[in-house]
């Protein structure tokens, strides 16, 4: 029960942060990516604020032997810079530049009651399953 509560609270903070920073407005994100147009620096402050917290806090957390309410840390194990990482990041970047949403804002913007995030998230799931089922 306690574990579920901290998960819910983390999700809530995440959604609240995306709302407050207006990342759920895709024009803000596109305005940041449009460096030769009328540049909107918002995203830089959002990412800067978030990474400052994680860089400092993760050091302390990961120096512990286990999380507070679970037995193990579930961390990514891959370390190598391989082809899927680069090609995947390129494909993601193209899609992000076209839509103006990445997955987090895509989910939270669902509460705005407009069609864009709904279509985006459906297409996201289709694209993700396409890679999963793509013969490798």
């Amino acid at each position: 029960m306690k574990e579920q509560l901290t998960i819910l609270l983390s999700g809530l903070l995440f959604g609240l942060g995306l709302g407050l920073s207006q990342m759920i407005d895709r024009d803000r994100v596109l305005g940041f990516l449009d460096v030769t147009g009328v540049w909107d620096p918002t995203l830089l402050f959002v990412l800067g604020g978030a990474v400052t917290v994680t860089v400092i806090a993760f050091r302390f957390i990961l120096s512990r032997s286990q999380p507070i309410l679970a037995n193990d840390f579930h961390l990514p194990t891959k370390k190598d810079i391989d082809k899927p990482l680069i090609i995947g990041a390129i494909i993601f970047g193209i899609g992000w530049g076209i839509a103006g949403y990445c997955p987090g804002p895509g989910i939270t913007a669902l509460v705005l009651g407009i069609w864009n995030p709904i279509l985006f998230m459906i297409a996201f799931i289709v694209g993700s399953l396409a890679y999963k089922w793509y013969p490798k």
């Binding site: 579920q4 998960i7 819910l8 983390s10 999700g11 995440f14 959604g15 609240l16 942060g17 407005d25 024009d27 305005g31 990516l33 147009g37 009328v38 909107d40 620096p41 959002v46 990412l47 604020g49 978030a50 400052t52 994680t54 806090a57 957390i61 999380p67 037995n71 193990d72 990514p76 370390k79 990482l85 680069i86 995947g88 990041a89 390129i90 494909i91 993601f92 193209i94 899609g95 992000w96 530049g97 076209i98 839509a99 103006g100 949403y101 997955p103 895509g106 989910i107 939270t108 509460v111 705005l112 407009i114 069609w115 864009n116 998230m121 297409a123 996201f124 289709v126 993700s128 396409a130």
Partner: protein, 164 residues
């Protein structure tokens, strides 16, 4: 999608107008605070549950509907509740509703879904969490997708002159 038809004079006037609007709307302190909340969310999830707050992975795990991945739905529910609390309780004014762009959403969504699964992460997984862990792999991913997205927006807006 419609083509932009602006001539030079109009564009520069428009640019000044846009710039004034952005400066008036832009609140760096709120943006920074929003970012701190996102970082705190990732911190809380790692400290208590030992999990990484990467949202593409969150969705990919959730849609397997398996028992050990069910916790991811709770996180997604939290993201929606946080959004509702912001938009309908805290927001000084409603979040602007962007132009309805079905084609951009479908093409963009497909690419984001495919690419984040292939590259194992998005802005939150590689960005907020990966950079937090000082992962070189994530740094490479972040620089790659940021650069590609900037180039894409440049091509869409300034070469093809599409606006959506």
């Amino acid at each position: 999608m419609r083509k932009c038809s602006r001539n030079g004079v109009k564009l520069s006037n428009q640019k000044i107008l846009d710039l004034t609007k952005i400066m008036a709307d832009f609140n760096w302190l709120t943006a920074l605070f929003g970012g701190v909340l996102i970082g705190s969310s990732a911190t809380l999830l790692l400290a208590f549950n030992g999990r990484i707050a990467g949202i593409s992975g969150m969705i990919n795990g959730a849609i397997t509907f398996s028992k050990q991945e069910n916790w991811r739905w709770i996180f997604i529910l939290g993201m929606l509740l946080g959004g509702i609390f912001y938009e309908y309780v805290l927001a000084p004014q409603p979040t602007p509703k962007s132009t309805f762009a079905p084609l951009a959403m479908i093409i963009g969504g497909l690419l984001v879904g495919f690419g984040t699964r292939m590259g194992s992460g998005c802005t939150s997984g590689h960005g907020v969490c990966g950079l937090g862990r000082l992962s070189i792999r994530s740094l490479v991913a972040v620089l790659t997708f940021l650069t590609t997205a900037i180039v894409t927006v440049f091509i869409v807006r300034h070469v093809l002159r599409l606006s959506f």
